[in-house]
């Protein structure tokens, strides 16, 4: 896993994203935030994160559509979906579309960090396998 992997946290609930980002930063994780899908896709290129934590329910381009764009543009980037719904349907659909995993909001910070580490490792493995090819 890279030493300083980057996370992009995408959620239209701005206060949630800001507080969670601050908690992750306090634990030494490099995080940026985006509050809608359009900005997330811009930051995918400019910020180049290893892992994207992505809310499913967002105005404009929804989470699943953003996921599809990410996997088409940068398949090595790993996506962890956050679903606010009681149903796991979106999470399962997201996995089918290439998400690394999904978590139900509100998330436990330790569980999220565990998933972020795993996903960053998977991103590195995918990058090095693409380099070899």
């Amino acid at each position: 896993m890279p030493d300083r992997w980057k996370v992009l946290l995408v959620d239209d609930e701005e206060d949630f994203a800001a507080a969670l980002a601050e908690r992750l930063r306090l634990r030494g994780i490099v995080v940026d935030t985006a509050f809608d899908g359009e900005t997330a896709l811009q930051k995918l290129v400019a910020y180049n994160p290893e892992v994207v934590v992505l809310d499913v329910m967002m105005p404009g381009i929804g989470g699943l559509a953003v996921l599809q764009h990410i996997k088409a543009q940068k398949p090595e980037t790993q996506v962890i979906l956050l679903t606010g719904k009681g149903s796991t349907r979106d999470g399962i659909e997201g996995m089918r579309l290439g998400a690394y995993d999904y978590l139900v909001k509100p998330v436990q910070i330790d569980e999220l960090i565990g998933k972020l580490k795993e996903a960053a490792g998977a991103s590195e493995a995918a990058t090095s396998s693409m380099t070899k090819e």
């Binding site: 609930e13 949630f16 507080a19 601050e22 719904k85 509100p106 910070i109």
Partner: protein, 223 residues
């Protein structure tokens, strides 16, 4: 309760519980952040005073938001008890805006209620009236994507009560949608809902206002 009424209640409830979950998620993360800061800075208040003040204020704002949402959800949950009731339309619109916050957010449209002078009261079915307003909103947002804001207000005139939806957005983009939509299935659902409560739906020529006109009016409880 009819199938379409159940579906409507389920849709609104699902949207509201999603909003409430977001509120709880913000409060949870903010409390967790305070815990983290406390663990890092120990008991020295000077290091964390400003940060704690900011986080506490955020928590209080979201508690207020949660209270508004639960009040709206409670009002909505009692709607099926008011099948032939005297409805305070101002109150109904005020709560309707709360229970459709999620919809506005999803569609990037600001939905607000403006309280006019007067006391528009009608005798009708609260659930069906809200279904009509919601279906009209849905239709407007889907058929006129340039709409960025919708202001709801109630007024009494010419022996009836009218709910007005004032649409905001680029006026050039809004004009013309009204005449194009009457053929579609989306609008026929609106008209079905209107017929169920004896209402009439009108769109102004410039496409910037929709009026739901209906019911015998009662001023201060008298005809």
């Amino acid at each position: 309760m009819q199938q379409d009424e159940l579906a409507f209640m389920a849709r609104i409830t699902a949207g509201m519980t999603h909003e409430l979950r977001n509120v709880l998620a913000v409060i949870g993360e903010s409390a967790g952040l305070m815990e983290d800061v406390l663990a890092m800075t120990g008991t020295d208040p000077s290091q964390s005073r400003e940060r704690f003040g900011r986080i506490t204020s955020q928590i209080l704002q979201h508690v207020e938001r949660g209270i508004r949402l639960t009040a709206g959800l409670n009002y909505f949950a009692h709607t099926p008890e008011k099948r032939a009731a005297m409805l305070d339309v101002n109150k109904l619109l005020e709560q309707f805006v709360v229970v459709t916050t999620w919809f506005g957010r999803e569609k990037k449209v600001s939905i607000a209620a403006r309280q006019n002078n007067g006391f528009p009261i009608v005798e009708s079915d609260a659930l069906k009236v809200q279904m009509l307003i919601f279906r009209t909103l849905e239709a407007v947002v889907s058929l006129a994507p340039a709409v960025r804001s919708i202001e709801l207000s109630a007024s009494t005139s010419e022996g009836g009560v009218s709910i007005s939806m004032k649409l905001g957005g680029q006026s050039d983009d809004l004009s013309g949608w009204g005449s194009a939509i009457r053929e579609g299935a989306t609008w026929s659902r609106v008209e079905e809902s209107a017929a169920a409560v004896g209402a009439r739906v009108q769109i102004d020529g410039a496409g910037q206002r929709v009026e739901l006109a209906f019911w015998p009016v009662r001023q201060n409880g008298t005809k």
